[in-house]
């Protein structure tokens, strides 16, 4: 029998209680039933008679004289007391150890007894009779025993379940059995015709109390809830949480201080052995509540220590992070300095050519260079490395160094790019490439030779007007080998300017979702044409920013004046 059977609980499968004891329970609920008739009924149930006499003479009731007859016991204990005793005995007899040989039934009754004792010590606070508190506690989780009876294959999970706090245990029951002890307990209580209030408490003790109709039902509900947590304080692996929750509930429902709650819990451990002996239940040695509180304090101390250690580790980590960040920043500063040194120094102004480089990050993948050759001509280049960050910066350093060195001896831009392509292709990784325009300008003749490896088209302006542009005819450096980089030879006539730029300018933002693009860039060159060449490139940037625009990429522009 498994979860499916529990799902649609069949009451014919449920264990049945001894009918005699149940008859006594029902008789106790009838107002016209006197002690003598009740005594007669009890005497017809030998097991109940023996238990009743034992109880009446036990410390549990503490009567001063020995009780020798059933009618005397019934008279002393009263109708309500008898009803509860009959009920407990009926339930306890309904499932015998031989019916569940693999289940540690003694452990279950011990935990049920602990709930009973919790209910008994709490009854006063809840304006309930002690016996009612005891019976409620004892029977509120009886459904769980029946669940194990119906699904014996889940018995190995008992240890895990019994070590949990009420809420977690309830969730695990749902997972393991597909149902919970309140549902099964309720079905059973209805089938057996148990008193209404007990049926209600069993059914609702894990639900909200608002669902209950009468004040006494609500009191029973609160008691059952407290009982669950108080008992867990003694059995759950996480004592600390159960103690905390018990104190919280006792304070909330009964206005009890922590000391009063502790006192109540002490009564539980004290009352366990006495009650167990009265009801003939075997229990293990009991841990006192005081020692549990001690463990809980130790746990708190440990938790506090862990917290302090965590804080300490966190502080250490933050210091380490700051140290590494400082170190990285120093390294980046150095890298930036090295990169700047690769650009022409301001003092190397040649009167005809001007450059600007702004990095979006600490280091840049863009660069430009120019220098005067021995023959008086000006060699120049602009380049953009794919990607951004440190890997782009390193490739930029390599490409610019190659240009700076080899360009001094190879004056043909086309041949120069072929050599650079070969060098970069040999060592480039991850498909990284360099777009580059290399050129040589003769200030005497205004003859301009340029070659373009996949870079954005050089633009020639005549003052404020666009004159020409020259799109690349070869791919970037580092993509494929053995290709030609066509050479373009033009004359940069007087009053004309050559603009070389990277996509940082092309893709400058003018507003949300609006980029400068080619047409905007040509207008920008036109607008700034009247500014002196020495200041014009800075003015391009200022113009964009003054219009509310911004740059989010590396930006490099090179201007050659005829």
């Amino acid at each position: 029998m498994g979860i499916a059977a529990l799902d649609g609980l069949d009451i014919t499968e449920l264990p049945s209680p001894p009918q005699g004891a149940l008859a006594v329970v029902h008789a106790c609920g009838q107002d016209d039933m006197d002690a003598e008739r009740l005594g007669d009924l009890v005497e017809q149930v030998p097991a109940l008679s023996v238990e009743l006499l034992r109880l009446a003479n036990s410390a549990y009731f503490g009567f001063s004289r020995e009780v020798t007859s059933i009618s005397h016991a019934v008279g002393l204990i009263g109708r309500k007391g008898l009803k509860n005793i009959a009920l407990c005995i009926a339930m306890k007899s309904s499932l015998r150890p031989d019916q569940m040989p693999a289940f540690p039934i003694a452990e279950f009754w011990e935990s049920a007894l602990r709930r009973g004792v919790c209910g008994r010590v709490l009854a006063d606070k809840a304006n309930l009779e002690k016996d009612t508190g005891f019976t409620t506690g004892l029977l509120q989780d009886f459904g769980l025993l029946v669940m194990f009876y119906l699904s014996p294959q889940i018995i190995p999970e008992w240890d895990r379940l019994s070590a949990l706090n009420p809420d977690s245990r309830y969730e695990l029951e749902q997972q393991l059995f597909g149902t919970t002890h309140d549902y099964v307990g309720h079905e059973l209580a209805v089938a057996w015709g148990l008193p209404d209030e007990l049926v209600q408490t069993i059914a609702y003790h894990h639900k909200e109390p608002e669902q209950l109709a009468t004040e006494s039902s609500i009191q029973l509900h609160k008691l059952a809830l407290c009982v669950d947590w108080m008992a867990a304080a003694f059995t759950a692996e996480n004592h600390h949480q159960a103690i905390k929750q018990s104190r919280k509930l006792l304070s909330e429902y009964y206005g009890m201080s922590t000391d009063a709650a502790n006192e109540l819990m002490n009564q539980v451990s004290d009352g366990m052995l006495e009650t167990a002996s009265a009801f003939g239940i075997d229990v293990a040695e009991q841990t006192s509540f005081e020692s549990l509180v001690g463990e809980s304090h130790l746990y708190l101390v440990q938790e506090n220590l862990d917290f302090q250690q965590m804080n300490w580790h966190l502080e250490q980590s933050l210091e380490e992070r700051d140290r590494i960040a400082d170190e990285l920043n120093r390294e980046l500063d150095l890298a930036r300095e090295v990169q700047r040194s690769l650009l022409p120094a301001a003092s190397s102004e040649l009167g005809k050519i001007f450059g600007l480089n702004l990095s979006a990050k600490a280091v840049s993948g863009d660069f430009y260079d120019y220098y005067r050759l021995a023959n008086g001509k000006i060699a120049f280049c602009i380049a953009d490395v794919s990607g951004k960050g440190m890997n782009a910066a390193i490739l930029m350093a390599k490409a610019s160094t190659l240009f700076h060195c080899i360009g001094k001896s190879i004056h043909d831009p086309s041949r120069l790019l072929s050599i650079l392509n070969h060098e970069i292709l040999e060592t480039s990784i991850h498909g990284m490439f360099v777009t580059m325009v290399a050129g040589v300008f003769d200030p005497e003749t205004r003859k301009l030779k340029i070659s373009n490896a996949g870079h954005l088209p050089p633009v020639i302006m005549r003052g404020t007007n666009f004159d020409a542009e020259y799109p690349a005819e070869a791919p970037p450096l580092g993509v494929i080998g053995d290709i030609d980089f066509p050479l373009l030879e033009i004359t940069l006539e007087q009053h004309k300017q050559l603009y070389l730029y990277t996509d940082g300018l092309f893709e400058a933002w003018l507003g949300e979702g609006q980029r400068l693009e080619r047409d905007g860039m040509l207008k920008l060159f036109g607008r700034c044409a009247m500014v002196k060449p020495q200041q014009r490139l800075q003015h391009l940037v200022k113009d964009i920013r003054d219009r509310g625009g911004w740059f989010d990429d590396d930006l490099t522009v090179l201007l050659l004046e005829s």
């Binding site: 990607g387 996949g454 970037p476």
Partner: protein, 111 residues
């Protein structure tokens, strides 16, 4: 950026969608290299690419270079206007084999 990989007519097709930029290109790179290891016929569908920057182009270049070195096929199909203008400006449209669609690639002969 999102992507979808499918196998069709003997090719592995990688459909890219959205922005292929500095933040997404490492994923594109890994995807293409994994695909090339699985199958030596790889087509990258760029029809839904809204933006591609130089790091994205570098990922395509790496896929192309690897396919050349191992003698496999790497081509672009259905290149969107945004991607086409970037490739054209850098003259990379002359480097990558580019087809309008898988059907057009199939017209150029079998694998």
């Amino acid at each position: 950026m999102t992507y979808l990989v499918e196998e069709k007519d003997g090719f592995l097709l990688v459909h890219l969608e959205g922005d292929v930029d500095l933040s997404t290109s490492p994923e594109v790179r890994k995807l293409m290299l994994d695909c090339l290891r699985k199958k030596p016929q790889l087509l990258i569908d760029l029809s839904q690419v809204s933006y591609i920057d130089s790091s994205g182009v570098a990922s395509l270049v790496e896929g192309y270079q690897l396919s050349k070195s191992q003698g496999s096929e790497f081509a672009l199909i259905g290149v969107s206007e945004a991607a086409r203008s970037v490739l054209q400006l850098a003259r990379l449209d002359k480097v990558f084999p580019i087809y309008d669609s898988l059907a057009q690639r199939l017209q150029h002969g079998s694998i």
